[in-house]
């Protein structure tokens, strides 16, 4: 029987599989997508050092390493259900049932949408979809686009779309409302963009950050030029909000309005920006469905992107034989996901092969590496990630016993 079944062949899943296989475990990895690599497949950005982060290459490296270690990888397989049994786990997939002693959920995060009139039109896509079309499938989603949502992810992807030859007409914000909330309030958007100054992943973000270096976000929003700041030819307009995606049967543009620093519409400022396609960048949320079906308890943690299955720093959940790693534990960079994956893989080996001093030391080194990687993170999606994670680990220890008692073996 398989010692460890990993769901998700992204940076976390592959790293975990490699680490566990290196310790002699029989490992299998499943992924829905036709290609191995997960979100790595889309990533291409320049780091402050000037070096490029090429996700596709990194994904390929991990893939080769995993194969070398004898990991069995199967793509285009979806997991629809999991259940605990006396031997471990029965995992129900689109190609039948698979048995495994341990299960690692490395399912990543999914994008969250921001609803506005017209967002269901063909041609209105998520920013991640545009990234996958351009960087993975090498298909231009269109010749021109408007991006709704000014955040670290959308700015990075705007740059990638430019490299694909797409004219990004402007990055604007959604209108504030019950879902968009602060993402539609210019002074809040400025505050979050200005946080990126010191860790901007490329020249593009560095310039955007420069603007607000010496002033408060509130003042920055006040004096933010009406036409936006233009970096590498892409205007970022944090005081322009999308109120509707327009088009007959297909998106052809966005109706916009100028807004005050606190996000109120300014009358008589409506405009239309035409575009072949429209991207909505609403952020990422951990994909918790399988963890929920498995019986994990959850915490809602805004800093980590949403509902997080309670887990220890060693990536164990309170459910015996169930582990998590990567963005399912909170939205962070691919590098953090890789480091977490290693911790998870080693922890599974430690718990399966019996505790040994050597593995314990490896786990400790891997944990240290996660902390270091996190501290050096170029893309911090939310402030307060370190503190939020500490809280999760404490709550996990508190609930570990209670949940263990509630689990019934089917």
């Amino acid at each position: 029987m398989i010692d460890l079944l990993v769901v998700g062949a992204g940076p976390a899943g592959l790293s975990a599989a490699i680490a566990a296989a290196e310790q002699g475990l029989k490992v299998k990895v499943l992924d829905e997508f036709p290609k191995v690599g997960g979100r790595l497949l889309g990533q291409l950005h320049q780091e402050p050092s000037g070096e490029w982060w090429n996700g596709i290459e990194m994904g390929e490296k991990l893939h080769q390493k995993a194969r070398l270690e004898g990991v069995n990888i199967q793509c285009e397989v979806s997991v629809s259900d999991i259940s605990r049994t006396d031997f471990g786990w029965s995992v129900y997939t689109s190609v039948g049932m698979i048995k495994a002693k341990n299960l690692l959920l490395a399912t990543g995060a999914s994008e969250t949408a921001i609803p506005l009139p017209g967002w269901t039109l063909p041609g209105a896509i998520s920013i991640g979809a545009a990234q996958v079309m351009g960087n993975v499938h090498r298909v231009k989603p269109g010749n021109s686009c408007v991006i709704i949502g000014a955040n670290v992810l959308s700015i990075a992807i705007a740059n990638e779309l430019m490299l694909c030859g797409v004219k990004v007409k402007e990055i604007i914000i959604p209108e504030t409302g019950p879902v968009a909330k602060d993402a539609g309030v210019p002074e809040k958007v400025m505050a979050s963009l200005m946080r990126l100054t010191h860790l901007a992943p490329n020249a593009f973000l560095r310039q955007a950050g420069k603007f607000g270096k010496f002033v408060s976000p509130k003042v920055a929003a006040q004096f933010f030029p009406k036409n936006g700041i233009r970096v590498l030819g892409i205007p970022i307009r944090v005081k322009k909000a999308a109120i509707e995606i327009i088009g007959e049967g297909q998106a052809t543009g966005v109706r916009t309005v100028a807004v005050t620093p606190d996000g109120k519409r300014i009358q008589g400022t409506e405009q239309v920006t035409e575009a072949d396609f429209v991207c909505i960048a609403g952020g990422l949320a951990p994909m918790s469905e399988l963890a929920s079906i498995a019986g994990c308890s959850f915490k809602y943690v805004e800093e980590l992107g949403g509902h997080i299955p309670l887990h220890s720093e060693r990536m164990e959940t309170a459910v015996p034989g169930l582990y998590v790693a990567g963005n399912i534990t909170g939205v962070e960079s691919a590098k953090v996901a890789m480091a977490q994956g290693k911790v998870a893989g080693l922890t599974v080996a430690f718990n399966t092969n019996g505790a040994s001093k050597k593995t314990e030391m490896l786990v400790k080194c891997a944990l240290d590496d996660v902390r270091k990687t996190r501290a050096n993170a170029l893309i911090e999606f939310q402030p307060g990630i370190v503190e939020a994670r500490e809280r999760i680990y404490v709550q996990f220890e508190q609930e570990r016993i209670a949940v263990k008692q509630a689990i019934t073996v089917s």
Partner: protein, 95 residues
């Protein structure tokens, strides 16, 4: 945001207006909104709108988003063919 024209659940075509009216009329939870309107009960199993519904309901009720998942996940977590459901695959194989 034009509430009438803004779809929240694309599968069942439930608008923001319908959801907020329902929450206000019955002062109810995400789960009750789902049961009353079918929002989140469509083909995709709420994969797109679940987060939005939770956020909208919590906002109107002026409550923080709860730790427990309000709109529960149930298998199958992905759309399946009848063939797979009917056991066309051998379920004892560990490939």
């Amino acid at each position: 945001m034009s509430d009438e024209k803004t779809i929240v659940c694309r599968c069942e075509e439930i608008s923001f207006q319908t959801i907020s009216d329902t929450v206000r009329e019955y002062s109810c939870s995400s789960r009750e909104v789902k049961l009353r309107t079918r929002a989140g009960m469509g083909y995709c199993g709420g994969r797109t709108c679940r987060h939005m519904i939770d956020t909208i309901v919590a906002g109107i009720n002026q409550e923080p988003i709860a730790d427990e998942i309000q709109l529960s996940y149930r298998p199958p977590a992905r759309p399946l063919t009848f063939g797979v459901l009917g056991g066309m695959q051998h379920d004892n194989e560990s490939r």
